[in-house]
């Protein structure tokens, strides 16, 4: 088990390193950042001074080395646009995004699992049909439309909930619901199909033959076996919620990393983009690592390999 975790950690570190290097080159393909900072009529000498200041006059491989060296110390340089340390900028925005992502994930998990399990148990019943239709609509509804509609209904018409900004728990409800819907729908659909397979299996028949009560059969015997693909999906969905909340953050003026990343990218603010990508890939690999450990906890065959 420890060997398994150690192996996964080493793999994660390698993955993050490779992502950072690739992103380093990719952002530089987007164009010259100075073109965005310097006014068009600036003196050539001033441009050279700025180039030197940001280290952009060096050969690219040397820039990479310098970048990696300082990155290893946690220093991602200063934002071209905001003149603040890049990593701090990303980190300062992160709690907002995490708050949104975790709440959305909670909503998606609780409702997705429940809808999926009920659908699987009452296959082809009215519940199943309602659940299936809801899941299909959920996956097909674009979040920018849903966000605006929810705002219109609960914020403007009923005036129950605040429509923008971050603050109380009430502020969280609309954006979290909006971004959770797609995850919720996909979790519900996968749970339904995995549970249908699990409920048909011999070990479930055996458990019922033993006189195990229905809720134990469903939640322990079947759900445990169905949970591995569901966990995989959930980890992907969570990463998506962390890195992909740009639209919803924009609609609801949520001060998270998604909005920051878009602003930085448009300004060719390399340090911030790099810090953001590194951070996102760190979260991504961390989630994967946790899920790998969870797999091993659920399935002894992985643990004893």
């Amino acid at each position: 088990m420890q060997k398994y975790i150690f192996k996964r950690i080493v793999q994660s570190v390698v993955t993050i390193f490779l992502i950072v290097v690739i992103v380093f080159f990719l952002v530089r393909l987007t164009g010259d950042p100075l073109a965005m900072i310097v006014p068009p009529d600036a003196e050539e000498a001033d441009v050279q001074i700025l180039k030197k200041k940001f280290g952009l006059d060096q050969p690219i491989l040397l820039q990479l080395l310098v970048f990696l060296k300082s990155a290893a110390r946690g220093d991602f340089g200063e934002s071209f646009k905001w003149q603040e340390p890049a990593l701090e900028l990303v980190l300062s925005r992160f709690p907002a995004t995490l708050e949104l992502a975790v709440s959305a994930m909670l909503i998606a998990t609780i409702f997705g699992l429940s809808i999926g399990i009920v659908s699987a148990l009452k296959q082809d019943s009215v519940y199943d049909r309602v659940g299936k239709t809801f899941s299909l609509l959920g996956q097909a509804t674009p979040s920018f439309w849903l966000g605006v509609m929810l705002m219109l209904f609960f914020g403007v018409k009923l005036d129950w909930l605040p429509v923008s900004g971050r603050g109380s728990l009430l502020h969280l409800i609309l954006p979290a619901t909006t971004i959770s819907l797609i995850s919720l729908a996909s979790i519900a659909r996968l749970t339904r199909s995995s549970m249908i397979d699990a409920l048909k299996s011999e070990y479930v028949v055996m458990a019922r033959i033993k006189g195990v009560p229905q809720h134990v059969v469903v939640l322990i015997h079947a759900l445990k076996n169905a949970s591995i693909p569901i966990l995989t999906l959930m980890s992907m969905q969570f990463s998506y919620l962390i890195a992909g909340t740009v639209v919803v953050e924009t609609i609801f003026s949520w001060p998270g990393t998604g909005r920051l990343a878009i602003q930085a990218l448009l300004a060719r603010d390399f340090p911030v983009v790099q810090a953001f990508v590194l951070f996102a890939s760190f979260i991504y690999t961390a989630v994967n690592l946790i899920v790998d450990v969870l797999y091993a906890l659920i399935d002894p065959r992985i643990r004893y390999q």
Partner: protein, 326 residues
């Protein structure tokens, strides 16, 4: 001799149908038999003849919503199981009637410890409160699993097929049931392991004084362990006989064919014997004897009307026109 005291289970005209898009599949069609205390019944027949569905019907575990018990009575200790609520049935399953499935490797949950799975019947039937671990170790000893103290915290994938079947049998007998149904208990195992499992079943029977229904297509196995044999063909029971009578004097042409199909070691034959043709589809079966199309002794009436059950001797009954008045 057939007093109600000795009667443990009685099926009366059981009908279990499957309602499919193609039509109604009559998997179990008017099946009646009794199981007395301490008896070992062999329910014999080809794959798909309705043996397993009969046993699942007894436990009221026919796969729904397609499958449904549409008629008859299942009297267990003189109580009709078809009138029990789902919760009452749960309390009977694994407790008074238990069942062993064919393939132990898939019947055990791969993600749960052997000890946990073994303890479930005890736990949910209120047996051995507080001392479940000791009870499980004792059970593993009884089914001859070596070093049970350590194996109890292992997982099924760490067990061989034969060992898994021992565990499944252990689960089956943990609450000392009155009736144990074994659905092809040795089919998925090696021949050498089969003999061991068979011996184990005999021991278990002696120790717990349970009645056993063994579902099998293996006549040799039935001969070794059963006291009575029921032959099932296309959803109906066509012959019932004490085991000795059955092997020496089987009456139904299908039973005769089955016995002739068993290869005998040491006898040289050009070709192994087999019954011509295929079992009929259970979808909309004919009104006549279902074996008639394959039967070499079939008469005109065989195709027109289902034969009545004829008593040939003590406990020997056959459903065949060869023995009945037209």
């Amino acid at each position: 001799m057939n007093t109600d005291n000795q009667k443990l289970l009685e099926l009366r005209g059981l009908r279990t149908y499957f309602f499919t898009r193609q039509g109604v599949v009559k998997a179990v069609d008017d099946v009646s038999f009794t199981v007395e205390k301490g008896e070992v019944i062999g329910l014999v027949g080809e794959s798909g003849c309705g043996k397993s569905i009969t046993s699942l019907s007894i436990l009221r575990m026919v796969p729904e919503p397609a499958g449904k018990i549409v008629g008859g009575k299942i009297l267990f200790k003189n109580e009709n199981l078809l009138e029990k609520s789902e919760e009452e049935m749960r309390q009977i399953r694994g407790n008074r009637i238990s069942m062993i499935l064919q393939d132990p490797m898939v019947a055990l949950n791969q993600l749960l410890k052997i000890g946990y799975q073994l303890s479930e019947p005890l736990k949910y039937h209120g047996k051995a409160m507080g001392q479940i671990r000791e009870k499980c170790i004792e059970l593993l000893k009884k089914v001859r699993v070596s070093s049970p103290e350590t194996r109890i915290s292992e997982y099924p994938f760490q067990f061989s097929g034969g060992m898994c079947q021992r565990v499944v049998i252990g689960m089956g007998v943990s609450c000392e049931p009155d009736l144990l149904i074994a659905d092809e208990p040795t089919t998925a195992l090696d021949v050498t392991i089969q003999a061991q499992i068979l011996r184990l079943l005999k021991r278990v029977k002696a120790e717990f004084n349970a009645s056993i229904i063994i579902i099998t297509h293996d006549l040799a196995l039935a001969a070794q362990i059963c006291t009575r044999v029921l032959v099932m063909y296309a959803g109906k029971i066509i012959e019932k006989a004490p085991v000795k009578v059955f092997y020496e004097n089987s009456a139904h042409p299908y039973s005769n064919g089955l016995i002739r199909s068993v290869p005998v070691v040491g006898r040289r034959v050009e070709r192994l014997y087999s019954i011509e043709g295929q079992p009929p589809s259970l979808l909309n079966p004919t009104a006549g004897c279902r074996f008639a199309p394959r039967c070499q002794k079939a008469k005109r009436i065989c195709n027109l009307q289902y034969p009545p059950e004829v008593i040939l001797g003590d406990g020997h009954k056959v459903a065949c026109w060869l023995y009945a008045e037209e």
